[in-house]
């Protein structure tokens, strides 16, 4: 895998406040890295340093081998960037705005026209090309921002909350677009939406208080959830306490939590020792007891739980 972005011990301090504190990672071609983290965790600041907008207090960023500070122009030509909130010149139309961006990127004449029409098609902007950007809906504005970021077919794409404010259909479109480009590029995106990590990212990075607290595939992250590989069972026709006692006797079961009662239905969450695979034995035990099993499945764990666990100090301690 070719390394496209190389970040080494990146640090940014605003006065006494340290926004980014020693972040290091690399992103290779074909990877889609999702930045997760609470507001103010340093996601945007990190992205602003990767794109060369902010100067790091210390540490280095190299994009395709070019240092973003010492060799800024070479690095910037290889990056496409969608800043937070998708800013654009509001008195321009998408057509004139994209022409401006294309010219700044060194494209002229027919090549410029072709690039713009291809990009416009990719992000579905045809219908609003000649309307002032300030009159466009939020979804269209976001797509204009995305269009300017991918206009020059950059090797590295940095997207700060690309789907923020879009409706579910638009989100789906943008994610499809990102997935389609992923093969040829290194993509870094930030998001608040954890389902997005599953939908587009090959790797998720949780950032809290300026530090990377977790870095792995979405599945690996889920593995850190307290409920990872727990079994959920819903049975009817049995007293909760009885069900609890019987199931505790099954080999490998560590702990059982009652999740709620609905009429004569009981819902239980069963934790195993060391995350063992206990689904079949639980099912067997229930059948042997003659309970009516309404529901039985293994929980992969919720990214939300991992997110909270890693980004709130109190819970991390307990």
């Amino acid at each position: 895998m070719t390394t496209m972005v190389e970040i080494n011990n990146l640090r940014k301090a605003f006065g006494s406040i340290v926004a980014v504190d020693g972040v290091s990672f690399t992103v290779g071609k074909g990877e889609v890295v999702g930045f997760l983290g609470p507001n103010g965790a340093g996601k945007s600041t990190t992205m602003k340093m990767i794109t060369g907008f902010l100067t790091a207090t210390s540490g280095t960023v190299r994009v395709c081998g070019h240092d973003v500070q010492d060799d800024a122009l070479a690095a910037k030509t290889r990056i496409g960037y969608l800043p937070e909130g998708a800013p654009a010149y509001h008195d321009m139309t998408p057509a004139s705005f994209l022409t401006f961006i294309g010219e700044m990127r060194g494209k002229r004449g027919d090549a410029l026209k072709r690039t713009i029409s291809e990009t416009v098609e990719k992000v579905n902007l045809q219908s609003v090309l000649d309307q002032p950007i300030e009159t466009l809906s939020k979804g269209f504005k976001r797509r204009v921002g995305l269009a300017q970021a991918i206009l020059h077919d950059p090797e590295v794409l940095v997207l700060d909350e690309p789907t923020d404010g879009l409706d579910p259909n638009q989100k789906h479109e943008v994610r499809t677009l990102i997935r389609a480009m992923a093969q040829e590029k290194a993509i870094i995106l930030s998001t608040h939406i954890l389902e997005e990590v599953h939908a587009v990212c090959s790797r998720a990075m949780i950032i809290a208080k300026g530090k990377v607290v977790s870095d792995g595939t979405p599945a690996e992250l889920e593995g850190q959830a307290p409920t990872h590989n727990t079994v959920l069972i819903t049975v009817s026709g049995v007293e909760p306490t009885l069900a609890h006692d019987r199931l505790m006797m099954v080999k490998g079961v560590k702990k059982i939590e009652e999740q709620g009662k609905d009429g004569d239905r009981v819902r239980l969450r069963i934790y195993s020792d060391d995350g063992q695979w206990i689904l079949p034995v639980i099912g067997q035990a229930a059948r042997e007891q003659g309970w009516e099993v309404q529901e039985l499945y293994q929980d992969r764990g919720q990214l939300d739980d991992v997110f909270r666990l890693l980004t709130t100090p109190q819970q991390a301690l307990s």
């Binding site: 902010l54 122009l73 800043p83 800013p87 654009a88 010149y89 008195d91 700044m104 990127r105 300017q148």
Partner: protein, 244 residues
């Protein structure tokens, strides 16, 4: 250079895409006419020159140019487009110069549209057209000086009103720095060389010497180096404040 041209083109088109261009040009032409004919007693003087016209330019610019300059960078910062602009493959000085040149060219257009004044004076008498030409050059240079100051102040804040008010005050200081109002603040404690340095910073002195018809290199250099200094300051301020 090519990227300066692209930024210049976008900025200039921006003035004409919004009502700014129309409002600015109309007000500029109306005020310069009104000042010349009513306050300047253009007809009563019975002289074929444009002295009353150019005499009011510093005061006209004092209000109009900061109004034009206040949005240069404050608007980019407020709308977040500064992040977009500066992450394009462009250097800071290209961005600063491109935007400045567009604003300067725009004031040049406004100034050019006062040509009926020049025609009128030629119809009425036989003015020294060399002096008038020099005065136009001087006026344009002075406008550039005001704009460069405004550009720097605009980079300091997201708030355009603050940018306007502060620019007006600083520009006023530059107009008046040869006048007792400013000099008396310094006389008494400042050494003589500082006093003469301050008074030599006056826009009025340099502009008036050009509008006598003498395109002295020193006056031209004064305005050009003033512009260069304030544009350099603009770039520095943007660099310092872009994180906010």
């Amino acid at each position: 250079m090519e990227r300066i041209r692209v930024i210049f083109k976008r900025e200039l088109a921006g003035y004409f895409a919004t009502p700014i261009a129309a409002v600015f040009i109309v007000i500029f032409l109306m005020l310069s006419g009104a000042f010349t004919f009513y306050l300047g007693n253009y007809f009563v003087r019975g002289q074929a020159d444009l002295v009353p016209f150019f005499d009011f330019h510093p005061w006209l610019y004092l209000v109009l140019i900061p109004a034009l300059a206040m949005r240069l960078w404050a608007e980019e910062r407020r709308s977040g487009t500064i992040e977009l602009l500066l992450t394009l493959p462009v250097t800071m000085w290209e961005a600063v110069v491109g935007k400045f040149l567009a604003a300067w060219c725009f004031t040049g257009v406004a100034l050019l549209l006062t040509f009926p004044m020049w025609i009128t004076v030629n119809l009425l008498g036989e003015p020294d057209n060399g002096v008038i030409f020099a005065s136009y050059i001087g006026s344009l240079l002075m406008a550039g000086g005001f704009l460069a100051i405004g550009s720097c102040i605009s980079a300091l804040t997201k708030n355009q009103v603050i940018a306007f008010v502060v620019s007006v005050v600083i520009c006023l200081g530059f107009i008046l720095s040869g006048f007792p109002l400013v000099l008396e603040l310094f006389s008494g404690w400042a050494p003589q060389f500082l006093l003469s340095a301050i008074s030599s910073f006056s826009f009025l002195t340099h502009f008036q010497s050009i509008s006598k018809g003498v395109l002295d290199l020193r006056d031209i250099l004064y305005f050009l180096s003033l512009i260069a200094f304030w544009l350099f300051a603009t770039a520095t301020v943007i660099d310092m404040k872009k994180a906010e």
